[in-house]
């Protein structure tokens, strides 16, 4: 019976964490897809490609959110077993010793999964994600033509009648930079070395600005999109695991590595708190106020940690020792405060 009770808690603990993880990571994933689609004026044929690529980034999105997802999962599990009065039965059947073993197992298992994701899975997937993302970004670098309009950021707008491959026919174009307006038979997009060019053929061009007022007739006119360079792959912090980050020559990367170490301790604290939350029982109707306060406290610890990493990155006088010291002071105080609340 005790074995069953323990496995019941383990099963439900991971079930709720997994549900919450799927919901929120799913929402973040969807919002990323929609955001990209909105920026690119809707690109129906690339939805699958964008969805697939952003999916590769999810393991690295998960890491900073894990402590919060564990916390929310624990709140849900507590509500569930409290409503059905299972909490009283579990408390009666499980001794302090068996609870301790159970808690140690849950925390250890959570940390192992988190470490594997943090150090191996997210790194591997992120590498793939960045390569795919770069491909898409370069493909979409100029945006996508939709409904006979083609807008390249706030540089050029092309209005066309027909399109075939990279050529647009019977066009009117506005080049915002110098208040230029072009009416021509066709415009072709050309890639030269690292730039994109717009090559207009057989048309007229008018410039109306403070410096120049002119009108020209041309056979061929080339406009270079200088700010639209072909991007190359750059390695960022998520390309490395904790050990590689700590030994990196750049300070920001090293700081990020130390922040990752702190997050392991943060996760252990959340693990301890979450187990207290699961078996927390008060003879009140609900624990909303207490749980809200705990959630807020943890959120504050996270915001403070973000501020400290910001100080570490931007101010030389702020030493690594201060970063660890302040973070741990807050972490330990939060733990004791929450312990007091859950007594």
């Amino acid at each position: 019976m005790i074995g069953r009770a323990r496995s019941y808690i383990i099963y439900n603990y991971f079930k709720y964490i997994l549900i919450i993880l799927l919901i929120f990571i799913g929402l973040i994933w969807l919002s990323q897809i929609i955001r990209i689609l909105e920026f690119q004026y809707s690109i129906s044929n690339q939805i699958i490609e964008i969805a697939g690529t952003t999916l590769l980034a999810l393991p690295s999105f998960i890491n900073p959110l894990v402590p919060f997802l564990i916390l929310i999962g624990s709140f849900m599990l507590n509500s569930k077993i409290k409503i059905s009065n299972e909490i009283i039965i579990l408390k009666q059947y499980l001794s302090i010793k068996s609870l301790r073993i159970l808690f140690q197992f849950l925390i250890l298992f959570t940390i192992i999964i988190y470490t594997i994701n943090n150090e191996i899975i997210s790194k591997k997937f992120y590498e793939k994600y960045k390569i795919k993302e770069l491909e898409i970004r370069n493909n979409l670098k100029l945006g996508s033509p939709v409904q006979n309009e083609f807008h390249i950021d706030d540089i050029v707008s092309i209005f066309f009648d027909k399109k075939k491959n990279n050529t647009f026919y019977d066009i009117e174009a506005i080049i915002y930079d110098q208040n230029q307006f072009i009416a021509s038979d066709l415009v072709e997009i050309e890639l030269s070395k690292s730039n994109f060019n717009l090559v207009f053929s057989s048309g007229e061009r008018i410039i109306l600005n403070d410096i120049e007022k002119s009108k020209t007739v041309f056979d061929k006119f080339t406009y270079i999109l200088e700010s639209k360079k072909y991007e190359k792959l750059l390695l960022d912090k998520d390309h490395y695991n904790t050990f590689e980050l700590i030994s990196h020559p750049e300070v920001e990367f090293r700081n990020h590595g130390h922040n990752k170490i702190f997050h392991y301790f943060f996760l252990i604290l959340i693990g301890l708190i979450s187990l207290k939350i699961i078996l927390f029982y008060e003879n009140k109707k609900n624990n909303y106020t207490k749980f809200s306060f705990i959630f807020l406290l943890i959120l504050l610890v996270q915001i403070l940690n973000s501020y400290l990493i910001y100080l570490l990155d931007n101010f030389n006088s702020f030493k690594l020792l201060y970063f660890y010291f302040i973070n741990f002071i807050f972490l330990i105080s939060t733990f004791f405060l929450i312990n007091k609340i859950l007594k």
Partner: protein, 318 residues
């Protein structure tokens, strides 16, 4: 009256919980993402908050689904769902949640405006110049196409500083005009001086001239960058009706699934319901994002028919 009030209070509680939790998760996600940027912490903090709000504007329906899910499962766990289903038929239940549904449908229609506003505030925070400050009005007069460009928007005075217009016919430019000395008279846009290109000549005009009628209402009513004259009324009206139709059907489908008889039964296959909600949700999210060059209206029509059929299919068991 006690029971509807009790239900409204419970739903509101579920809504607050879901909103706060979602907001916090989105906030942490944005905060961690922006930490590497070369911005002050105050700006990072503000942008992260705005980003969290923006995710809500991208998918407001998620909040409705999560709140309804929490609300229904909370009722179910206390065996209150059976009692409620006994007291209220589906019509009455819909009547109770109608204000909430109306609110969400309104948010769905206005979400683009909200998202644009947030994007503009974000651009101001990071001092980046983005499109949206420029509006292009395209009109057709016979074979002549006219492009009117209002730009150099001054946020402090809430007014544009440059008027440009170009007219072309069969890929030949007939007329062009620029003015950077603008003012409003009533609701119309006037210029004190301008330069005009016409009949192969550039001429400077130093007199007051009305450039655009009813400019003020044009600027506030049209939130997009490109505004097309002939399509303006019919097309935007069509898109609003389509959007309302799609949203109403979607929210009714979701509500119907959560208030269905199947959910009252103990041992119901939750996974099946979850997959159904997820499919309807994804369908509703992605269909409006698909823009076809041809057969767009037919595509919209079929997408609505599919949702109506789904709705009828769910309803027939009730």
């Amino acid at each position: 009256m006690i029971l509807p009030l009790y239900l409204a209070r419970k739903f509101f509680k579920a809504f607050i919980i879901c909103a706060v939790l979602s907001y916090s998760i989105f906030f942490i996600f944005s905060l961690m993402g922006y930490l590497g940027e070369k911005l002050s912490f105050k700006s990072i903090f503000l942008i992260s908050n705005l980003n969290s709000f923006q995710i809500f504007t991208y998918i407001p329906s998620h909040l409705f689904i999560l709140s309804l899910c929490l609300f229904v499962f909370n009722l179910k766990s206390r065996n209150e769902l059976i009692i409620i289903k006994e007291y209220f038929d589906l019509k009455k239940l819909f009547l109770i949640i109608f204000p909430i549904l109306a609110l969400f449908i309104y948010a769905e229609i206005k979400k683009e405006n909200l998202s644009n506003t947030i994007e503009r505030i974000k651009s101001n925070v990071i001092n980046s110049k983005k499109i949206g400050d420029t509006k292009i009005f395209i009109s057709l007069d016979g074979n002549t196409k006219k492009y009117t460009i209002f730009s150099r928007y001054d946020q402090d005075n809430d007014f544009i500083n440059q008027y440009l217009s170009f007219e072309s016919q069969n890929q030949k430019i007939h007329r062009g005009e620029i003015s950077t000395n603008l003012y409003l008279k009533g609701s119309d846009l006037f210029s004190n001086e301008s330069t005009v290109y016409e009949k192969n000549n550039f001429q400077y005009e130093n007199f007051n001239k009305r450039l655009f009628e009813n400019f003020q209402s044009f600027w506030t009513k049209n939130t997009g960058t490109i505004i097309k004259h002939k399509m303006i009324n019919a097309s935007s009206g069509y898109y609003i009706i389509h959007s309302i139709f799609l949203s109403v059907l979607f929210y009714f489908c979701i509500s119907m699934i959560f208030f269905s008889k199947k959910l009252v039964v103990r041992g119901v296959n939750i996974m099946k319901i979850f997959l159904l909600v997820l499919s309807v949700f994804l369908y509703y999210l992605l269909i409006p994002k698909i823009i076809l060059n041809n057969f767009q209206y037919l595509f919209h029509f079929i997408s609505i028919i599919i949702l109506i059929l789904t709705f009828i299919n769910i309803k027939k068991y009730e």
